[in-house]
C-alpha cells in the first residue's frame, strides 16, 4: 500500500482585516500519496497560497485535521514544526527568496545552519547539487549576478539539500521566461521520478501539465473532478 504523506480533512481558514472576516478556505479535504506530483490551480485570491502555507506548516488552520507523514500536526509546538520543516519539507517560491548577500553555495547550505554544523561533506553535497542543476560555474555568484532561472535553480538546490520528502512550490515559474520555466519543470519532473512528492501551485495550465494530477480551488473548496 502506498503511504499517504499529506491528509487534510475539512480545513478552514478565515482572515480578518479589521472587523471584516473573509473565509478563504471553506472545508478543504485532500490526500497526497508519497511519490505524487500534484498541481493546484485556481483564480487569483482563491486561497492557493493559504493552503500551501498550511501544508508547509507555516500556518495553522482554524479547524480541520492535518496529518503530515503520519503525524497529527495541530498539537505540535513551534519548535517541532520548525524541526519538521527543516527535515521533511523543501520550499520553492515564486520570488526565489535567496539571501542577497550570500553566494549560491551559501544559500544552498542555509537550511543546514539550523541543524548545527555545516561540514565539508555538506559543502560537497551542495556543490554536487548545484552541478546537477547545471550551476557549476555560478557556485560563488551572488543572487543579483544570476538570471531568474539560475536563481530559481539555486532555490531548488536549497530545497533539496535536506533530502525532503515533500517539495512545495508556489508559482515556481511565475517570474521566469518560458525557456527557464521549461527547464525548472523538467527538473521537477526528474525529481518526482526519483521519488520526491511535489505539490505545486500555478496559474499556468501548460506548467500544470507537468504534474501527474491537477486540482482546482474555487470558492474555498476543490472542484470535484
Amino acid at each position: 500500500m502506498v503511504k499517504k504523506l499529506v491528509i487534510l480533512k475539512n480545513i478552514t481558514k478565515t482572515y480578518y482585516t479589521g472587523k471584516v472576516a473573509y473565509q478563504v478556505l471553506k472545508g478543504i479535504s485532500l490526500e497526497v500519496e508519497e511519490g505524487e506530483f500534484l498541481a493546484i490551480m485556481g483564480a487569483s485570491g482563491s486561497g492557493k497560497s493559504t493552503l500551501l502555507n498550511i501544508i508547509g506548516l507555516l500556518d495553522k488552520p482554524d479547524s480541520g485535521i492535518y496529518i503530515f507523514d503520519g503525524q497529527e500536526v495541530n498539537q505540535l509546538t513551534k519548535k517541532e514544526l520548525a524541526y519538521l520543516r527543516n527535515r521533511k519539507i523543501g520550499f520553492v517560491f515564486q520570488a526565489f527568496y535567496l539571501v542577497p548577500w550570500a553566494t549560491a553555495l551559501e544559500n544552498v547550505l542555509l537550511p543546514l545552519l539550523y541543524r548545527g554544523k555545516i561540514n565539508k561533506e555538506d559543502e560537497k553535497k551542495a556543490v554536487e547539487l548545484l552541478k546537477r542543476l547545471r550551476l557549476e560555474k555560478r557556485i560563488n555568484a551572488k543572487p543579483n549576478e544570476l538570471s531568474g532561472g539560475e536563481q530559481q535553480r539555486v532555490a531548488i538546490a536549497r530545497a533539496l539539500i535536506t533530502n525532503p520528502k515533500l517539495l512545495l512550490a508556489d508559482e515556481p515559474t511565475g517570474n521566469l521566461d518560458s525557456k527557464s520555466s521549461q527547464e525548472v519543470m523538467n527538473i521537477f519532473k526528474e525529481l518526482n521520478e526519483n521519488g520526491i512528492t511535489i505539490i505545486m501551485v500555478t496559474h499556468d495550465p501548460e506548467i500544470a501539465d507537468f504534474a501527474k494530477k491537477i486540482k482546482i480551488i474555487k470558492d474555498g473548496t476543490f472542484i470535484k473532478e
Binding site: L58, F93, P100, L110, P111, L113, I118
Partner: protein, 403 residues
C-alpha cells in the same frame, strides 16, 4: 566551518555605511567614557603627588581668613596683623622641626636688559628644607644672611632659564624691583604644588630683606612650619591656634589667621575631582545610552528590511531562539565593534592628552574593563527589541505575492 558564521553574520557587513553609522554613537560614548575615566584616575594620582610636594607634615599659618577653594588656598583679604614676632613665638612650641616666616609679593626682575615679573618669596634658611625643594646649583641661604639683611637670591628653575639660559648664574647680580641681589642658588624643577602655584616661577630672598628694603612693611603673609612627628600635627595645630588667638587678642569667631594643612587641601581637592568625574561619567554613560538607542533604531530598521530573509530562515527550519540569537548577536557585535574602536580612541587619546595637560600617565586598565562590560551590556539591551521584532516575523508573508 567558515560558511556557518558567514550565514549567521554576513548580513551585518552587507550595508557598510549603515554599520558605520550605527557604530559611531557607541564610539563617541565609549571613547569619552574612557577618556574621562583615565583623567579621573590620573587626577587622583596627580593630587597625591602634589600633596607630596607639600608634605603631610607641613602646615601654613596664613594671615587673614583663608578659603580652600577648588584645591587652591586663597587668601580672601590682606591682613597686616601677622608679625615676625608671631613666628618667633611659635618657635617655642615643642615638636616643630622647621619654621619660616614668608612674605610674598610681585617682583620685576632685570638682568642685562632682560625683564620679567615673578613672585618674590621672602623666606629664611629653613624654608627649602621644610618644603624639600632641592637645589640644582649653588647653595641655600645662611642664617647670617637672613639676620644680616643680605641681598641674596635663589632662583626658581624657569626664572634661571629665562634670565641666563644655559649660562652660569651663580654670583651674578640681578635687579629685583631695582635693588641689586646676588644669585647664590638655583632650584631644581619642582612643578606645580598643592596650592596650584608653579614653584619653578619664583625667586626666594631673605624675608628680612623682603619686608624692609623691597616691600617696606612690618608684617608677614604667612608662616610655614613642619612638625617632627606626624602624629603630633593636630596637637601642634591646636597650640598654634591658642598662642595666636592670645597674641592677636581675637576669639575663634573673628580670628585673623588660618591654619592650613596638606590634609585640608587634599580633602577639598578630592571632593572637587570626584564631583567633576561623577558628572562627566554620567554624561558619558548618557552618550553610550544614546548610542545604544541608535543601535536599537538601526537594528529595528534592518529587521524590517530583512523580513524576507527572516521569513525564509524560519521556513527552512530556524526556531525563534535561532532568530533571536542571531539578531541579538548582531547588536552586540555592532556595539562591541563601536566599543573596541571607542576604547582604542580613548586609550590613544589618554596617552596623548594626559601628558599634554600635565597629568601623570596612567594606563587605564580599570576604565577599559568597565567600558568593555558597559558596552556589551548596552549591546544586549539595545538588541532586545529588534531581536524580539525579528522573532515576530511570520513566514507566511513569503507566499503573498504582493509582499
Amino acid at each position: 566551518m567558515f560558511i556557518k558564521y558567514k550565514l549567521l553574520w554576513g548580513g551585518l557587513f552587507h550595508k557598510k555605511l549603515r554599520l558605520f553609522l550605527s557604530v559611531i554613537g557607541i564610539i563617541i560614548g565609549v571613547a569619552s567614557l574612557l577618556l574621562m575615566n583615565s583623567f579621573g584616575e590620573s587626577a587622583k594620582i596627580k593630587t597625591l603627588k602634589e600633596i607630596e610636594t607639600f608634605g603631610p607634615e607641613v602646615m601654613m599659618v596664613v594671615a587673614g581668613s583663608v578659603k580652600v577653594h577648588g584645591g587652591r588656598a586663597i587668601q580672601t583679604e590682606i591682613t597686616t596683623t601677622l608679625k615676625p614676632a608671631d613666628a618667633e613665638a611659635l618657635r617655642k612650641i615643642k615638636g616643630i622641626k622647621y619654621l619660616s616666616p614668608v612674605f610674598n609679593g610681585d617682583g620685576i626682575i632685570r638682568y642685562l636688559g632682560n625683564n620679567l615679573t615673578t613672585i618674590v618669596n621672602g623666606v629664611n634658611e629653613e624654608y627649602l628644607l621644610l618644603r624639600k625643594f632641592p637645589l640644582l646649583e649653588g647653595r641655600n641661604f645662611l642664617k647670617d644672611e637672613i639676620l644680616g639683611y643680605k641681598k641674596v637670591a635663589i632662583l626658581g628653575y624657569k626664572i634661571k632659564r629665562e634670565l641666563f639660559e644655559d649660562k652660569n648664574s651663580i654670583g651674578k647680580i640681578i635687579l629685583i624691583n631695582k635693588l641689586p641681589f646676588r644669585v647664590i642658588g638655583v632650584l631644581a624643577p619642582i612643578g606645580i604644588d598643592a596650592s596650584n602655584t608653579d614653584q619653578d616661577d619664583q625667586i626666594l630672598i631673605p624675608w628680612t630683606v623682603a619686608i624692609s628694603a623691597v616691600y617696606n612693611v612690618d608684617y608677614i603673609r604667612s608662616i610655614y612650619l613642619s612638625v617632627e612627628n606626624l602624629e603630633e600635627i593636630h596637637l601642634i595645630e591646636k597650640q598654634i591656634n591658642k598662642i595666636l588667638l592670645k597674641r592677636h587678642k581675637v576669639s575663634e569667631r573673628n580670628k585673623d589667621f588660618d591654619i592650613v594643612k596638606a590634609e585640608d587641601i587634599l580633602q577639598v581637592k578630592t571632593q572637587t575631582t570626584e564631583l567633576f568625574s561623577t558628572l562627566v561619567k554620567s554624561i558619558s554613560i548618557l552618550c553610550l545610552f544614546v548610542g545604544a538607542l541608535g543601535v536599537t533604531a538601526i537594528m529595528t530598521l534592518s529587521v524590517n528590511e530583512r523580513k524576507k530573509e527572516i521569513g525564509i530562515r524560519k521556513a527552512l527550519g530556524a526556531e525563534d531562539k535561532n532568530i533571536l540569537f542571531q539578531f541579538l548577536a548582531e547588536s552586540v557585535f555592532i556595539t562591541s565593534l563601536g566599543g573596541a574602536i571607542g576604547i582604542l580612541i580613548g586609550v590613544v587619546g589618554s596617552l596623548i592628552f594626559l601628558p599634554l595637560f600635565d597629568y601623570p600617565l596612567v594606563f587605564p586598565w580599570i576604565p577599559i574593563l568597565t567600558s568593555t562590560l558597559l558596552t556589551i551590556f548596552s549591546g544586549i539591551i539595545a538588541g532586545i527589541y529588534p531581536a524580539y521584532k525579528a522573532t515576530q516575523v511570520d513566514p507566511i508573508i513569503l507566499l503573498r505575492h504582493n509582499f
